[in-house]
């Protein structure tokens, strides 16, 4: 019995701790979005809130990094972000060019100043 529970535990936890707390927000959106069109004020406001939350996640991942990224100095992470964004603006708002430049700057900076 205990052996079976040990095997199953990560999967039960995946449903209870991962799937349900995450999915409830999508279902809530489905329930509340009925009858709205893309120009309604609540939809416009929702877009602004979603964009701001996403920006918050981005800031947290860059400024308060964990794991292997946290091992690279904060100044290198922020500098690489600025480099990437400037290249993104300079090269016709190309996401690919911006990400590539940011990654290049991070790896170079991490190699020169990190670890």
């Amino acid at each position: 019995m205990n052996a079976i529970w040990t095997e199953l535990f990560p999967y039960v936890a995946l449903i209870l701790v991962g799937f349900l707390p995450n999915e409830m927000w999508r279902v809530l959106g489905l329930v509340l979005a009925r009858g709205l069109n893309e120009d309604s004020q609540i939809v416009v406001w929702s877009r602004a809130v979603a964009t701001a939350i996403l920006a918050g996640v981005i800031a947290k991942l860059i400024v308060f990094s964990g794991g292997a990224l946290g091992g690279i100095p904060l100044s290198v992470r922020v500098g690489a972000t600025v480099c990437g964004f400037l290249v993104f603006i300079a090269i016709k708002r190309s996401v690919f060019a911006g990400v590539l430049a940011g990654e290049g700057a991070l790896l170079l900076g991490g190699w020169l100043f990190g670890h």
Partner: protein
């Protein structure tokens, strides 16, 4: 993508969606992000199939990172569930903003169940960009194709990262983890054509940093509501005075 694509059938629209997914920048981004995630799951002793199942069921990179690290770190399950839920609040306004774009006259609620589950940053950003150019009756099929393409990519590269895990030196592993914020930042900025969206992006970056540094509880929720609402009212004010 032509400006107003019509398709002979729903299947053709679905295939076009899959093709858009595997040829977009997000293909590389998701591959990189989920290679990093595979490495993380391996490090915390979880099975590779567990990771694949979490990709299909949870389908949100921040929530999955929280889930994996809480299991490994031995955090209380209630605390992990709350953290996952907070990271997922952003899905609610995304669904609210996306569904009106997908819905046609004849759309039933059950047709919207899959797109609702599929809603995630990559799919949302690309749907908002591409769907206006797709004829309304084929938007759900196109969007589902897009999502299946992304989810398949993520699940596949999760396995790749899992089995590569032991080989990655720390600097390269750090570079992989950097892919997620870089790509989210650039793609959100590319989509932010209106002043309101640009303002919400800048305010969110600033508030997210300040509130986390100040150790404010529910920081993401306040970042979204505060930054988003302020950007919205600036937009309303400009419209009223224009």
């Amino acid at each position: 993508m032509p400006t107003s694509a019509t398709f002979p059938s729903a299947a053709a629209a679905f295939r076009s969606g899959v093709k858009s997914a595997v040829t977009s920048t997000f293909f590389i981004v998701l591959a990189g992000t989920y290679i990093g995630m595979g490495a993380l799951a391996h490090g915390f002793g979880l099975a590779s199939w567990w990771l694949a199942l979490s990709t299909v069921l949870v389908w949100a990179a921040p929530a999955q990172v929280i889930l994996i690290s809480s299991f490994g770190g031995g955090a209380p399950l209630v605390e992990a569930a709350l953290a996952v839920s907070l990271s997922a609040v952003r899905l609610f306004p995304m669904v609210v903003a996306l569904l009106p774009l997908l819905r046609a006259e004849s759309t039933r609620v059950r047709d919207l169940l899959l797109p609702t589950h599929f809603t995630s940053v990559s799919m949302w950003v690309e749907s908002l960009r591409l769907l206006p150019g797709v004829s309304r009756e084929h938007r759900i099929a196109f969007s589902n194709g897009l999502s299946v393409g992304y989810m398949g990519t993520a699940a596949t590269f999760g396995f790749v990262g899992y089995y590569l895990a032991a080989e990655l030196p720390p600097l390269l592993a750090g570079g992989l983890l950097f892919l997620t914020p870089m790509s989210f930042l650039m793609s959100t900025a590319r989509n932010a054509k209106a002043i309101m969206d640009q303002l919400a992006l800048v305010l969110g970056l600033a508030l997210g940093t300040i509130l986390t540094a100040a150790d404010v509880q529910l920081d993401l929720l306040w970042t979204g509501i505060g930054g988003g609402t302020l950007a919205y009212f600036v937009h309303r004010f400009r419209e009223a005075t224009a």
